[in-house]
């Protein structure tokens, strides 16, 4: 009887030794988020931008492939970059000013523009970090479910390419 009990315990211990590390790996992405903040949305808008720092404490690059939050309908990764007129594909509109040929003759050269464009992934280098900040990478939060107040905390979850997730707590500023 005692031998049977010991055998059962050993078996259970062996199973636990196999399963528990796998659980830990699934939960621990090796990526830490900090200094996360969300811009207070404009009075007429229920959309805003999330900024944060992501640090990768592993020896392999990690890639953020999506983001989600119970506080908003849809999150998308975007970046701001300088573009020249005509760089964007399939522009719906003719360039501004071209409709008036008399103005076009004397107008100064068009200035470069800042454009917001979607990105499909954000790579965090091995043992490195990436900063999402104004004028660069950011995560758009569309369709906020309620209007936040200054100082509120919003929970966001980032999903990585290896299936792990990174919890984020952002402060409304």
């Amino acid at each position: 009887m005692q031998n049977t009990t010991i055998s059962i315990c050993k078996t259970l211990f062996a199973i636990a030794a196999l399963v528990l590390p796998l659980t830990a790996i699934a939960q621990d992405s090796g990526v830490v988020a900090h200094d996360a903040w969300v811009r207070m949305p404009a009075p007429s808008k229920m959309d805003t931008a999330l900024y944060l720092v992501l640090e990768n404490h592993t020896s392999a690059p990690k890639t953020v492939i999506s983001a989600s939050s119970d506080a908003a309908s849809k999150l998308e990764m975007h970046e701001m970059k300088m573009v020249k007129k005509g760089d964007s594909m399939g522009s719906m509109d003719k360039p501004a000013g071209d409709s008036d040929s008399s103005m076009a003759m004397n107008k100064p050269p068009s200035q470069p523009m800042m454009a917001m464009t979607p990105v499909s992934a954000i790579v965090i280098p091995a043992n490195g970090k990436v900063t999402l900040a104004p004028n660069g990478l950011h995560i758009m939060m569309f369709g906020l479910k309620s209007r936040p107040a200054m100082g509120d905390k919003i929970n966001i979850t980032l999903k990585l390419d290896d299936g792990s997730t990174v919890p984020v707590v952002a402060t409304v500023k």
Binding site: R39, D100, M103, N135
Partner: protein, 192 residues
């Protein structure tokens, strides 16, 4: 005797005029000019109505998540730093997204910034004319897979116009609060 009195009077007049002139190094820039749009109270607006005030002009749109609120926040700091001089500064926020930026939306969203700002909109042709006048740029970028549907790429220059309606400074997006405060003080000093 008569000739001496005339010469003296002329000299005195020239000295008075010279004393009244304010020296400024700010050139008059070859961009800008008067224009007509509709303000966020749905009233016709002309730049010339602001003669006597320095004017800051910025092209943007209220769904802009980054550049525009950053600029407007910066201007809030500029107004605060200028103190009583801020009453001589008017900011004009010209939308390049008239489809979404109705007068009501412009008024509502600009109210969250502590600046004396007027939102301006109009037909596409009217806005395009002003954009061309100031050498600015914008372009609609379709985003069919995004909740945004489209974004608007736009130039980020902040134009400073003097009380006579002439463009004197083009502040780049990177201009600091200090840069803008100094530039505006120079403009105001040359017209006080």
């Amino acid at each position: 005797m008569k000739k001496t009195r005339s010469s003296t009077a002329m000299l005195l007049l020239l000295l008075v005029l010279a004393a009244g002139c304010r020296h400024t190094d700010l050139p008059v820039l070859p961009v800008g000019g008067n224009f007509s749009l509709t303000d966020f109270n749905n009233q016709p607006f002309q730049l010339s109505s602001l003669r006597g005030k320095a004017v800051l002009i910025f092209f943007g749109y209220t769904s802009c998540p980054d550049v525009c609120p950053t600029t407007l926040s910066k201007l809030s700091s500029v107004y605060r730093r200028l103190g009583s001089d801020s009453q001589r500064i008017k900011t004009l926020y010209i939308t390049v997204d008239p489809g979404r930026d109705t007068p009501t939306v412009l008024k509502e969203d600009l109210s969250s910034f502590h600046i004396d700002a007027l939102g301006l909109t109009g037909s596409k042709a009217q806005i395009d004319r002003v954009v061309a006048l100031y050498g600015a740029s914008y372009e609609i970028i379709p985003l069919p897979d995004s909740a945004e549907k489209y974004s608007v790429a736009h130039s980020t220059t902040l134009y400073a116009v003097d009380p006579q309606g002439r463009t004197r400074i083009l502040f780049p997006y990177e201009a600091s609060v200090d840069d803008i405060v100094k530039g505006l003080k120079d403009i105001l000093a040359s017209h006080s």
